[in-house]
Amino acid sequence: MMSKRRKTELGSLVILLFIGLVVYRFMLFPAQPKAHVPLPPITEPQPIEAFQGWVPDEEGTERFLQELGDRAQLLQANPGLVVRDGEPVYLYRALYRAYDTHRPGQKWIVGRQGIGDCVGWGFAHAADIHLAVMFQLGDTAEWHPVATESIYGGSRVEARGRTTAGYMDGSYGAAAAKWLINWGAVFQQPYASPNGIIDLTAYSASRAKDWGNYGNGGRDDKGWLDTVAKKHPIKDVSQVRTFQEAAAAIQSGYPVAVCSNQGFSRTRDGQGFARPSGSWAHCMAFIGVRFDRPGLLCLNSWGPKWIGGPKHPDDMPEGSFWVDAAVATAMLGRGDSFAVSGYQGFPFRIIDHSKWVSVQEEQFYALAP
């Protein structure tokens, strides 16, 4: 039989042995950092509704409206504008015609934003369509589509007096409007800058991201593309707050860039309207008006296939939908929607009837100085 002393010794020995084993275990096999397990690739693309980008700034909008002064409110600036009841106007038809001269034989199709730069797209659509209206009326010699990245970058940096704006997406309507009237439009074409060719012919989401941080022209531009933009400013922008104001603007050829939180269904009803649904912090453009069922035609920037259903009229752009008047008023009531009017476009040159029979050495086109 074991003595008490012996038991105590044995117990201590066991405890010491256990401690020793534990120490031995963790000294020889320290905890290893877990190997980095990469996240599984995204197999499902982001839903299109993720591409929005309206980040309201009420103070910034208010400051801009004060800068505009008497021009701030549409009907105040244009007292002659009245709604012609019953007369539908589809401004997109001017865009179709203008685009046909730009790309003969090709049909205009709405583009698709790749980041949260909807404000650039909404105001670019408005500028494009207004210049197209001017082109149809013979008020400008040429039509060119605007580069959305320029508006987006300019609205985030130059219009706000910044040097950089970071990489969080988004902008607001008044900033884009300020960019367009205080600077202007840069077009979807190549530009020979001091740093090389800047080819804006095709939209680039990465360029939009970069210019969203560094402003129009990107990091090394040093204001060169800003100077280019100033050759073609928008002459006037006015805040639009109701369906009636928007209708009057559209009937006069002035599209309305609309910023709101209103979302919509992805299916048009039998009359081409989309039902309000959900919340989108988003910028689009109102480009048509009708009165059989009062509403405004809204052009989105998610490509042609994000929405389906009947169209009215049959040639309304793919990717667009009608919005009921009351809903439109609610959207415009957010206070960050602007009509675009007037454009320092492209003056006509005087035709010389003798030159066409000979080869000309000099460049034939001359844009506005």
């Binding site: 040159r349 005087i350 009837h353 003798s354 000979s358 080869v359």
Partner: protein, 169 residues
């Protein structure tokens, strides 16, 4: 019949040959049938003087034909575009000027009428300006479109008349 009488009845071969030669000469020595007179030069610029200013008549004839065909094509295209109504593509003076500049360039494969006929730009330009008027390049209405069509058609007629005259008709 005596052999001598037989010989007297048959004309000698040499005589027949001489008469045949005389006949052939007579036929081919006749002056050609008179050509119908060249119609009077149509009203418009004197392009015959312009195209005949070079020594190479063959080249001048070819160029006058080319210019005439080009002008008539332009007139026809501008006229047709006007029938398209709202689908018309050529709605400004700038677009019409571009059409004729590009048409000349492509039709002539980059060649220039003005290089060979230095008077041509001034003569053509002066005529068109008188017919169409100085254009701001802006919108073209139906009246202005008709002026463009008629003026270029008149140039075509002038040029083709000059080509006919250069051909020696």
């Amino acid at each position: 019949m005596t052999p001598r009488k037989k010989q007297q009845q048959k004309p000698p071969t040499a005589v027949l040959l001489v008469f045949a030669a005389l006949g052939i000469w007579f036929v081919f020595s006749q002056p050609p049938a008179p050509q119908p007179p060249l119609p009077d030069r149509p009203s418009g610029p004197d392009l015959y003087t312009v195209f005949s200013s070079v020594g190479n008549t063959t080249q001048a004839h070819a160029d006058a034909v080319a210019f005439g065909v080009l002008c008539e094509s332009l007139a026809a295209m501008i006229e047709y575009d006007g029938t398209r109504g709202e689908e018309a593509r050529l709605t400004t003076g700038i677009q019409l000027d571009d059409l004729r500049r590009w048409s000349r360039e492509y039709y002539m494969r980059g060649d220039s009428f003005g290089v060979r006929y230095p008077q041509l730009p001034e003569v053509v330009g002066g005529f068109l300006e008188a017919q169409i008027g100085e254009s701001s390049g802006g919108l073209v209405d139906d009246t202005m479109r008709a002026r463009w069509v008629n003026a270029h058609r008149a140039l075509a007629q002038q040029s083709l008349w000059a080509a006919n005259r250069l051909a020696g008709r």
